[in-house]
Symmetry: C2
Subunit: 369 residues, 2 copies
């Protein structure tokens, strides 16, 4: 793979992603100014993740908004592959999804694909992925989703609801389709081959159109769903895509839940956060202080700055000042990291408390078949 | 396909099957005299379907019997793809399975694969196959299985129990395996590709070895199950295979549930049975009576005789007399058909009554997840 190449699939993200190229490659739409203005008009807010291009691409979001203006309802759906504990990168689409639920007052389904992670990770047992699913569910509900309008789906637990829908989908997808979209081979296990139809199932769980906020790496699943939707007399799912959240170790891949070093978990202590950021967060600064003061840092490649931009500093003015101070050399890498550490720990202290409150009522949020 | 070729897969049976060749092709074992004697010793009976080679082949039946003699338990499992109403050919392995349950006093699981028939039949909806599943279940239970020791599984209804087991199986099977065993292509739908793991699941539903009485066309599924059993730390399923039941229209294929003409359903009236046998049952007789009296008929290709041999005349002496009388020309085709019609209608009058009794309690026999 040469330096200007990249790979984005649901199970593998590699290289420096050129998001404009990706939009062309995947055949999605860039989120236009027209859509941004319409969203602002409807919600009365200008969400920083939209403004900053953290959500950058979509499929049929315009139709969802046009229909909304005509009084037609939709519902939300997103998910997570429970291969480990939740890390802060996972929270990005969830926080945005929570905002969408607040603003549109709609139902939300959150799918935890314990089967998928069992099929795709040689070393994981179904028991492990099912346990991670429960832990991940705590993080999702801790963000404040409306308990009356939110249902958590765990594939192996809710398979009775999912399977008949997945079967309708699966009958319309052949092995060639999955080869073309996911790069499957003759050696791919048959659980993985079937799995995409289960990720499609929640799209059709209500008789309304769905909008899915999600990482762009998950788009291929719904490209298939959109291809077959008409064949089963259903509406194509609409999508809104976020960029891949960089690993602590630097850009060029999404944050991986399986490499402990490069990951800040929602369950980390303040000391762990401090240690991980200080030790591992890829820096755009200069090798020594004198040089940094003279040349300045590069916030565009600095992971700490990117985390502030993507998630932890919604205030544009404050973010701009950090950007300029770091770029000019006025702000040192240690100082920038200090700002991020404080932000993360402040967030996590509240989050961890809510997470434990959710634990008591978790069963109430689970979908009942 | 030349005249001495044949095809036997779970979804396609064609040609004149040479069962000795099939045993070699599939790599199964012929049921030996040693096994027949052991079965007779244990059960105190010499079942006519064993004696006459209706059940002709097995895998590891000897292990099941050896272990039984050492006091180790097993359970039974068989099934049906509900693509239509039950026909009399389906009852062959079920009647034998009932005998096994009686003699060994063991649990029985009966799987109705509504998903499979939905995936494999373009024209059938999941609702249709699920409805046929309920109808087929009536026929099964009407045969008198012990209600306390028998559970009916419908794939879409009991998927919560089946799916986690199927997932363990599916992780060990790749697309190449299914190509080699079932002849799948890149155009096969992903429901079909995954499905075999769901047919494997009941093999591991109890922590004991399983014995499966079944049509030999279903063997390929369990060849895969046996290949992967050790990889998931489970015992290989044991099988006992029956021959394919000929269609009314003649040998060279199994009775098809979708061709109404060539099929006697368990719900047929005495008049329908009479009409179908008289009109369609392939005859080994001569074109006219004079010639028949002179040359005699051929019971070996006569469908009416074969139905008596396979299912409806357990008495060897009576069967032998019919064979000889028909072969000598003493018995005419109309008379032979008359014997069969009477036997079938006598059986169905009792069966249909039991079937309606079962309907009231059907829910009690369904597996509860």
């Amino acid at each position: 793979m040469s330096s200007d190449e990249f790979v984005v699939t649901p199970w593998h993200v590699e290289g420096d992603i050129d998001y404009d190229k990706l939009i062309k490659q995947f055949g999605t739409q860039k989120i236009s100014n027209e859509i941004l203005i319409k969203l602002q008009k409807i919600t009365g807010e200008d969400h920083f993740m939209l403004r900053r291009g953290v959500f950058f691409s979509h499929r049929d979001l315009n139709l969802i908004l046009d229909n909304h203006e005509k009084g037609k309802e939709f519902f939300l759906y997103t998910g997570r592959g429970p291969s480990g504990h939740t890390h802060i990168g996972h929270l990005v689409p969830w926080v945005f999804a929570k905002w969408l639920q607040d603003k549109f007052n709609v139902n939300m389904y959150f799918q935890l694909t314990d089967d998928e992670k069992f099929f795709s990770k040689q070393e994981l047992s179904l028991k492990q992925t099912s346990n991670f699913a429960l832990e991940n569910a705590l993080d999702f509900m801790a963000l404040g989703f409306d308990p009356k309008k939110t249902k958590i789906i765990i594939d192996t637990k809710n398979i009775k609801t999912l399977y008949p829908i997945a079967a309708e989908v699966a009958k319309k997808i052949n092995f060639s389709n999955t080869k073309a979209v996911f790069g499957f081979t003759n050696e791919t296990n048959i659980g993985m081959i079937f799995y995409t139809s289960l990720q499609s199932a929640p799209c059709f769980i209500e008789d309304k159109p769905v909008l899915i906020p999600l990482g762009v790496d998950q788009d291929p699943h719904f490209r298939i769903t959109r291809d077959i939707a008409q064949k089963i007399n259903r509406v194509k799912p609409a999508l809104i895509h976020n960029i891949m959240i960089p690993s602590l170790l630097g850009p060029g891949g999404k944050m991986s839940a399986s490499d402990e070093k490069s990951t800040i978990y929602t369950t980390d202590s303040p000391e762990q956060v401090k240690k991980k950021i200080n030790k591992y967060a890829f820096s755009g600064g200069q090798p020594d202080i004198d040089e940094h003061r003279k040349i300045g840092g590069n916030p565009d490649i600095d992971v700490s700055y990117q985390y502030l931009r993507i998630f932890f500093e919604p205030d544009d003015d404050k973010l701009k000042k950090i950007y300029e101070d770091y770029k000019s050399g006025k702000m040192l890498t240690g100082e920038l990291k200090g700002i991020l550490i404080e932000k993360i720990n402040k967030f996590l202290s509240v989050h961890q408390e809510k997470r434990e409150q959710v634990r008591k009522n978790l069963d109430d949020y689970m979908m009942k078949d």
